[in-house]
Structures are given as structure tokens and as C-alpha cells.
């Protein structure tokens, strides 16, 4: 077609129209999928997870290539953890069947949200897509993914990989979909759509706020800025190893990464020396200013240094470090607005500050979180339960990771928190959920409640499964069972009476005959009337 015709056809409503059609199909798919039982759902989740796992390395490479953020090996690991790893973590759990609480005379039926709209970031693109898709599949929701434009190709590929595997394993057509060409206007349109039941927003603060402003239920996450306190009781060497491991992981693009090390004087030298052994480089006092300038010279964090290696950042700042440097430590003397290096840094640069005692450290950590990262994560390396308790209760943080790498630990890896790539920042962090997001956040429960009066017995629900054992519900209207696949043949009904059978040929011949007779009679009448 000519450029003129193409231009006339390319109106602003095209992407919106396409997205609306996606939501329509997602809605249908959700209706169908909501009737699946746990066994079928498990097979689908497993298939999607395995397909994602098989492409973990390839898509990690694609993500680094497309975005320039992070480390291929670490992204591969994250992609594996959010595919097969996530499946295995939730394997035994059933979000599809009824729960009978006989003592309370309550039966609970899990109700999927319906259509989940997932915003995914550029920093952790593939693993966040994997994570959200599997969460939706576990809970019998349909999901539409809108990736960050910087990572749209690898994210779309990730979503399609799982979508195809899920459909091959029997999931309804359209249960997982992805917007290939996301843009702000389109995302705002979809977020506000009445077809969307919940928005899972991971991304920058403006996007998360927009999700909450859409009028639809949203689960958004605020930014992080995790302090890590190392007190005098800590095993300095182990703390150093964990902090470096955490901060260098995927070049620190996880929002759970440590931002500033707060070291009690008594242990600070030992800690710094140990961190150096593990690959951290303490920059000299006169190198702090150029580093600050490189990272925050423009007033906000330099996005082009996001997820870059320590060596790249040092080079940009004009600081000489060995190529093997994993983390840059920047000695600072305060936290707050007047020290930009105490802000969130999604790159392997750590502030390093000394405090005279643990109590001062707690105040310092509190100040850091007050500035940014409320409701998110913090870490402490200590053997004193008292200090841990004081730290946890003083900070407006909802995850306190003890003696572990914060990047991984707060995200549920190596701790018993829920493994998650969407960190609920709760009321402190202007979010609706304060935990690591998991499948339980994508369902509500219908609760059947009997009176507490002992004279009214509870019904017997043994053997009754809400969607699978009852046949078509609501007049067969609520859920298409063909899963969006073409159905051939007669309608779903055994003929009960002779005349009910839709025997095409016979009926048609009879109808033709009847018509012929009727026409003849009418012609006869007409002629009779005319004469």
C-alpha cells in the first residue's frame, strides 16, 4: 500500500483498539480458565515454567543486549528462579480448590481476579514477566503484560514463550498476552479499562502512581533504598561477603539491593578490609565528588549507568579501579537530601558510613528510609536479637533481612520470605500490599458461612468441587469450555425427541417441501382471488 494509504489507516485509535481486543479475549480466557481444577492448572503452570526455564539463558542474554543492564549469568539465574524455581516453590499449594473449615462452619472458594494487567520493568525484564505470568497461571487468572519499552522485545518473547507452552498444555487461548508496542497513552488506557481487575505494577514511581490513579485495584511497589547496618556483634567477614555478593548481583538492579552500609565504628575497618577482599573498592575521599557527579550530576540518577558494572561507572567518574572491581564503596559522612549518594542506586555503588554505636546506626538507617524507600527492605548483620528488634521496629521497612544478602534475601531467595519479583511496600510505601507478592494476592475467596448456632448444622461439601463437579453453571453461560479453539459439529446436546434432532439434510428437505407447498397454496389462493 502507498505511504498515503498507510498513513490514513494509522490512527491513534489503532493501538487502543488492538489492546481492547486483547482485553476482550483475556476476559473470555479468564472465564474459561476459572473453571479448571488444580491438576489441570498444575500441568499448565509446569509447562509454562519449563518453557521459560529452557530459555532462561537465551533470554538473559537478549535482555542484557537489549537494555544494557545487568549481568547475563545473574539474569540467567533469576530467570531460572522465576520459572522452574517458582513452580517448585509453590508446587504443593492449591489455589483452585475449595477449603472447608469445619470448625468455623465456613467453606472457602477461591475466586480469581480475572484479568491481571502486569507492568514489567526494564531492569529485571524477563524474570518479572516469568514471575507474574506464573502467578497468574497458578491462580487461574488471565494476564496481559505491558513491558517497559526499553525491554519490550525480550519481555514479549518471554511472555510468548510461556503463553505458547501454557496453551499447548491446555490453557485457554489468550490466557497470557503481551503488548508488543507499549506506550504511555496505551498503558493508561488499559490501566483504566473496566476489563482489568487488578494491576500488578512494577516500575518507576510515576507508573506505579498512575496505576493507583487509574481507578482499578492495583498492587504497586514503591522504590527501595535499603540501609544495611553492621554492628559490633556481627561476623564482619561473613557480612562483607554477603553484602558484596548482594550488591554485585546483576549489577544491583534488584530494588532490594543495599544502598548504604552503616558500620559500627568497632567493626568498620575490619568490615571494609573484608569487603575489599571480596572485590569491593573503597574510593578515595577526593574521588567521591566525581563519583557523585557521575551518578547524580544531573539531579537525578544517571539512567545510563543503571545496572552497569563497577568498572564502567568508575571509568565514567574518572576513578581508577581494577577491572575486577565488583562494587564501589563511597565513604560518606551523612545521609539525606544533601548527600545524593545516600539515595537509591540501581548500580554497584554503595555508600559507606561509620557510626559510633548501634543506636546511632538505627537512627541513620531510619533517616535513610525516611528520605526514600519506605515500606521496602533493610538488612542488618548482627548477633544481637535486641539490636535486630530495635532496628526492625524503628525502621519504616517491611522486610528486615538478617545476616543475609539483601538483594536475594528480601526477595525471598535464601530466606523463608515468599520468592518474589514484586515487593509490596505496604502503607509505608503507598502500596496496598506489604508483603512479597505471591499467588495469594491474585485471588479473593467466596466464603460460605453457616450460623454459629449449634442447632443449625453445616452442609456436607465432601466431594463437591465448585467448578469441576457440577457441569455447566448458570445456564452454560459463564464459561466457554472450548478454550477458544474451533468447535465443529452439532450443538452440545443429545437429541431427546425425534423432532429435536438437527438432522441437517432431512430437516432441510422437509423445510423445502413445506415451503413449496405453502407457496403453491398461496399462489392458488392468489389466482383464485384475482379471478
Amino acid at each position: 500500500m502507498t505511504a498515503i494509504v498507510a498513513e490514513l489507516l494509522a490512527g491513534a485509535k489503532r493501538p487502543i483498539g488492538r489492546a481492547d481486543q486483547m482485553l476482550d479475549v483475556a476476559e473470555w480466557a479468564a472465564a474459561a480458565y476459572a473453571r479448571f481444577d488444580h491438576r489441570a492448572v498444575d500441568a499448565i503452570v509446569c509447562a509454562a515454567a519449563e518453557a521459560g526455564h529452557a530459555k532462561a539463558a537465551a533470554l538473559a542474554e537478549a535482555a542484557v543486549k537489549e537494555t544494557g543492564f545487568g549481568v547475563v549469568a545473574h539474569k540467567t539465574l533469576k530467570n531460572q528462579m522465576t520459572s522452574r524455581g517458582l513452580y517448585e516453590h509453590y508446587r504443593g499449594q492449591d489455589f483452585c480448590s475449595k477449603r472447608v473449615r469445619a470448625a468455623d462452619k465456613v467453606v472457602e472458594l477461591p475466586r480469581p481476579a480475572g484479568v491481571v494487567f502486569a507492568l514489567t520493568p526494564s531492569t529485571n525484564p524477563v524474570c518479572t514477566v516469568y514471575f507474574k505470568v506464573l502467578l497468574a497461571l497458578m491462580t487461574r487468572n488471565a494476564i496481559v503484560v505491558s513491558p517497559h519499552p526499553l525491554a519490550k522485545e525480550c519481555s514479549a518473547e518471554a511472555a510468548r514463550t510461556m503463553a505458547e507452552a501454557a496453551e499447548r498444555a491446555g490453557a485457554p487461548a489468550g490466557v497470557v498476552q503481551v503488548i508488543d508496542e507499549p506506550n504511555l497513552a496505551l498503558v493508561e488506557h488499559v490501566m483504566a479499562s473496566p476489563r482489568v481487575q487488578v494491576i500488578l505494577a512494577t516500575g518507576g514511581a510515576p507508573m506505579v502512581r498512575a496505576a493507583y490513579g487509574s481507578g482499578n485495584p492495583a498492587i504497586g511497589v514503591g522504590p527501595g533504598n535499603a540501609p544495611v547496618l553492621v554492628d559490633a556483634t556481627a561476623d564482619a567477614d561473613a557480612a562483607a561477603r554477603r553484602i558484596v555478593e548482594s550488591k554485585s548481583f546483576d549489577n544491583s538492579v534488584l530494588c532490594t539491593n543495599e544502598s548504604v552500609v552503616i558500620a559500627e565504628e568497632a567493626v568498620s575497618d575490619k568490615l571494609a578490609a573484608a569487603m575489599a577482599r571480596y572485590g569491593a573498592v573503597m574510593v578515595k575521599d577526593d574521588e567521591v565528588a566525581p563519583l557523585r557527579q557521575a551518578l547524580f550530576g544531573a539531579g537525578t540518577f544517571a539512567v545510563d549507568l543503571l545496572g552497569r558494572s563497577a568498572a564502567t561507572i568508575a571509568q565514567r567518574a574518572g576513578v581508577r579501579v581494577p577491572a575486577s572491581a565488583k562494587v564501589l564503596l563511597a565513604p560518606i559522612d551523612r545521609v539525606g537530601l544533601d548527600e545524593p549518594l545516600s539515595r537509591e542506586k540501581l548500580c554497584p555503588v554503595l555508600g559507606f558510613i561509620r557510626v559510633p554505636h548501634a543506636r546511632a546506626g538505627i537512627s541513620m538507617a531510619r533517616a535513610l528510609v525516611r528520605m526514600a524507600g519506605a515500606g521496602h527492605s533493610a538488612a542488618i548483620h548482627s548477633r544481637s536479637s535486641e539490636t535486630v528488634m530495635a532496628f526492625a521496629s524503628a525502621l519504616r521497612s517491611l522486610r528486615i533481612v538478617v545476616n543475609a544478602p539483601c538483594s536475594q534475601g528480601a526477595a525471598g531467595y535464601g530466606t523463608h520470605l515468599a520468592p518474589s519479583f514484586t515487593i509490596g511496600t505496604g502503607f509505608f510505601g503507598r502500596s496496598s500490599v506489604g508483603e512479597n507478592i505471591g499467588p495469594e494476592h491474585l485471588i479473593n475467596w467466596t466464603r460460605i458461612a453457616y450460623p454459629d448456632d449449634a442447632s443449625e448444622p453445616m452442609g456436607d461439601f465432601a466431594g463437591l468441587e465448585p467448578w469441576t463437579s457440577l457441569g455447566p453453571l448458570a445456564g452454560g453461560r459463564e464459561a466457554p469450555m472450548s478454550l477458544g479453539v474451533l468447535q465443529e459439529g452439532a450443538p452440545p446436546r443429545a437429541p431427546k425427541t425425534a423432532h429435536a434432532a438437527p438432522r441437517a439434510a432431512a430437516i432441510d428437505e422437509m423445510a423445502v417441501l413445506r415451503e413449496e407447498i405453502r407457496r403453491l397454496v398461496q399462489d392458488e389462493l392468489r389466482r383464485a382471488l384475482r379471478s
Binding site: M1, T2, I4, V5, L8, L9, G11, A12, K13, R14, G17, R18, Q21, M22, D24, V25, E27, W28, A29, A31, A32, P172, A173, G174, Q177, R195, L470, G471, P472, A474, G475, G476, R477, E478, A479, P480, M481, S482, G484, V485, L486, Q487, P491, P492, R493, K496, T497, H499, A500, A501, P502, A504, A505, I507, D508, E509, A511, V512, E515
Partner: protein, 426 residues
């Protein structure tokens, strides 16, 4: 009861527009005067909302006033008007290329009409030119439009009325009857067979398995072209772009109208296999139509096709059709002494009622219950039931609820008794 304004309007329509047609609807107790339209809804001039399950034969397949069609018309109007039909034009050639791509094979040339009837005439003329024979076989009680040739291929009610019937040139045979078809063709004096893939006005009787393929084989054997009238069965209504694809038949000539214009800007198209489009080379001015292929209509058609080709479309129409099929099946269980059959292919549906002209009371009760669906002119036991391909899950559910109530009331009216033998829904 209609408002005084509406009563006056209906009286005016009888006086100035079409007394017979206007009165016929009043006699059937359907006093519909459509005012505003939006999506799959019609709003009567008194403000009453109706779900449109007639869609004017699929004209509003993707809904009324689709926002993307409105936008493309507005954009096109900044540059184009209908155009000059003598010259190559940006819109016409672009749409023809799209149709060639979509139809595939050697379905190569597109000829434009301003409406379905004209397009059928073009198809018939093309077949006659290609085969240098006059006869066109069609199906009894069929409907292909009201223009000079199309009307002859349809039920004679409309041709004899205007003394326009030409029975010698237009032999007609019953649908699904291969013997009669072969009888009509075996003299080798027919230029072509024209048939709707599923005859709409006859209440969508389904072709028996193999019927259409066998008709095509008979055409090949007896040197006739197969003309597929896809006006009502095309454009994803059967789950594939063209109904014939569902049956594995390759026509020689395809006619598409109604839905291709999105109900917004009239256009109809004839797509012809390369070997049979000879007249376009011999005398390209052979058929002319000032408004056929109006350029804005071409852009609307392209947008309509684009919408229908989106990756979500197949699943969407399959979801709608299956939900309808399940839900209607359950309603048939409730009233199985009255509602006796569902003819269905995708969202092309005919509902059979075991009562003389049974679809008319059903239509009336549907109308009273906020649904507009029309009986089959040529088999009034059958209601044409045509949900839109882009219907939402919630709207399908609402439509089925209304249909259930209306069929129950129609059954009571026809067979007596307060309600049908209500059975357990389980």
C-alpha cells in the same frame, strides 16, 4: 406503548416512505425505529436499548460505529472523497492487494460495487464472460440481492413482482441436494453456480458434510464457475475469514458485502481468480460504477479487514460462538417441545421452532425483551441469530438471559400453558 412522537413518525413513514414495509412491522408488533447505535446496541427513538443480534446480516459484524472506523473515515475525508472510478486510485488498488493477499492463491483481481446486489451482478457477468454461457444455477429460496441479475438468482417473490424473473437463465435447485445440482449442470450450459456458503434468508441450514465440496467438483466437471456469496458468512463469522474455508472449498469468484463496509461507508467487492477475469483485460470499462469502490469505503474496508485479522480474533469469535452454542443448548433443554434445533457455524446461527412461522412470535418477544433478531424470510420457522464477533463475555451472558425469557414467553403464546416444562438446570 410508543410515544406520540414515534407514532407520528411511523405514520409519516407509512405516508411518505414505505407503507407496506412499515405496516408489516407494526403488524408483527415490532414498532422499532432505530435512533442511536453504539457497539452491539441499538437505541429505539423512544430510548429503549436493544442488543443487536441481527446486525443487518452481518453489516455490523464488528459493532455499530466502531471507533477505529469512525477515525479512519475522518482521516480519509481530510484527503479523499469517493474518487473517480475511471482511474487507478490509491484506495482501490490498496484494498485489492489486501484482498488478494487474504484470499490467497490466484484469487487475484477485485472488482468493486457499491452494494452486495451490484457485486453479485458483477460476479454473474464475470462468470458469463469467462464461460461464454448464460445460465447461472442458484439455490431455491435463496437471496442474493435485488439488482437485475442478482434478483433472478433469488426467491422469485422479488423477481416476479417486477416482472424481472428469467427462469430459463436461472435454474434453481434445492440446497443440500446433489442430484438436482448435477441435473442442472450436466448439460454443460451453465456459466456458474452461485450459493451462499450457508443460506441466510433460508434460516442458515447447514451444508451437509461434503456438499459444498461436491458442488465445486460438479462445477469443475461440467465447466461452470463456483461463485461463493460470502456476504453473510464471510469476515470471521464462521471462525475463519471466509465461510468457505471452514468447508475446504476454493471458489472461483468470491462476493463480499455488508460487513466489509463496517456499516459505515458502502462498498462491496468481488474477488476473481486470475483465469476468469478476462473481461478486465478485454474491456476494462466493461462494468462501471461511480460509487462502486468509493475510495473512503476502500479505506474503511481495509480497516475492517485489519481488525478482523488481529491475532486475538479467532479465539474471540470461537469463544462467542461456543458460549452461544452452550447457552442456547441449555435453553433448548428447557423448551424442547418448541425450540427444536440450533443450526450453527461460528456466530452464524439459525434457531428452529416447531411451530408454523414460530420465529415471528420469538422475534416479537425478543424485541419486547430488548433483543433484536429477525426471522428468516424464506423459512419463518427459523430465527436468524447473529451475534457479533467482538461481543464481550458479559454481553453474551445478558443476551442469553434475555433469549431464554423471550423463548419461554413465545412458547407459552404458541403452545399454551404458563411456561415450558421447566426442568432442572443441572
Amino acid at each position: 406503548m410508543a410515544s406520540p412522537e414515534k407514532q407520528q413518525f411511523i405514520a409519516d413513514s407509512i405516508q411518505y416512505w414505505n407503507p407496506g414495509k412499515t405496516q408489516a412491522w407494526q403488524d408483527m408488533q415490532v414498532d422499532l425505529v432505530i435512533d442511536r447505535r453504539q457497539g452491539y446496541f441499538l437505541f429505539d427513538m423512544d430510548g429503549r436499548r436493544l442488543i443487536d443480534a441481527h446486525l443487518n446480516g452481518g453489516t455490523y459484524n464488528i459493532g455499530h460505529r466502531h471507533p477505529e472506523l469512525i477515525e479512519v473515515i475522518e482521516r480519509a475525508m481530510t484527503r479523499f472523497d469517493m474518487g473517480n472510478h475511471h482511474f487507478p486510485s490509491l484506495g482501490r488498488t490498496a484494498l485489492a492487494k489486501e484482498l488478494a493477499r487474504i484470499c490467497g492463491g490466484d484469487m487475484h483481481y477485485t472488482i468493486y460495487g457499491s452494494g452486495g446486489g451490484e457485486a453479485i451482478d458483477i460476479a454473474i457477468k464475470t462468470a458469463r464472460h469467462a464461460k461464454q454461457k448464460r445460465k447461472i444455477v442458484s439455490v431455491m429460496r435463496a437471496y442474493h440481492g435485488h439488482t437485475g441479475l442478482a434478483v433472478c438468482a433469488g426467491a422469485e417473490r422479488f423477481s416476479t413482482l417486477f416482472l424481472s424473473d428469467r427462469p430459463d437463465e436461472f435454474p434453481q435447485v434445492p440446497f443440500n441436494d446433489l442430484d438436482r445440482m448435477e441435473d442442472a449442470l450436466k448439460g454443460r450450459d451453465c456459466a456458474g453456480v452461485i450459493m451462499e456458503t450457508i443460506p441466510a434468508t433460508y434460516g442458515f441450514p447447514m451444508p451437509v458434510p461434503g456438499y459444498l465440496n461436491e458442488v465445486k467438483r460438479l462445477c469443475e466437471r461440467y465447466d461452470a464457475l463456483y461463485i461463493a456469496d460470502e456476504v453473510q458468512t464471510g469476515l470471521m463469522r464462521t471462525g475463519t475469514m471466509w465461510g468457505y474455508q471452514r468447508y475446504g472449498v476454493q471458489p472461483d469468484i468470491l462476493v463480499t458485502g455488508k460487513g466489509i463496509c463496517g456499516g459505515m461507508y458502502p462498498i462491496a467487492c468481488v474477488v476473481v481468480r486470475e483465469p476468469y477475469a478476462g473481461w478486465l483485460k478485454q474491456d476494462g470499462f466493461g462494468h462501471m460504477s461511480t460509487m462502486g469502490g468509493a475510495e473512503i469505503g476502500c479505506l474503511v474496508a481495509m480497516k475492517t479487514l485489519e481488525i478482523l485479522e488481529r491475532p486475538t480474533m479467532v479465539a474471540h469469535v470461537n469463544y462467542v460462538s461456543e458460549t452461544m452454542r452452550n447457552g442456547l443448548g441449555r435453553i433448548m433443554d428447557l423448551y424442547d417441545d418448541f425450540f427444536v434445533g440450533i443450526r450453527q457455524c461460528g456466530v452464524v446461527m439459525g434457531l428452529e421452532f416447531d411451530y408454523p412461522e414460530g420465529a415471528k412470535p420469538v422475534m416479537k418477544h425478543l424485541y419486547e425483551h430488548g433483543v433484536w433478531a429477525i426471522f428468516s424470510t424464506n423459512d419463518p420457522r427459523v430465527l436468524q441469530f447473529k451475534p457479533g464477533v467482538l461481543m464481550s463475555a458479559a454481553l453474551c451472558e445478558e443476551l442469553l438471559e434475555r433469549v431464554e425469557r423471550a423463548i419461554g414467553l413465545a412458547r407459552a403464546e404458541c403452545l399454551g400453558g404458563a411456561r415450558g416444562r421447566l426442568k432442572s438446570a443441572a
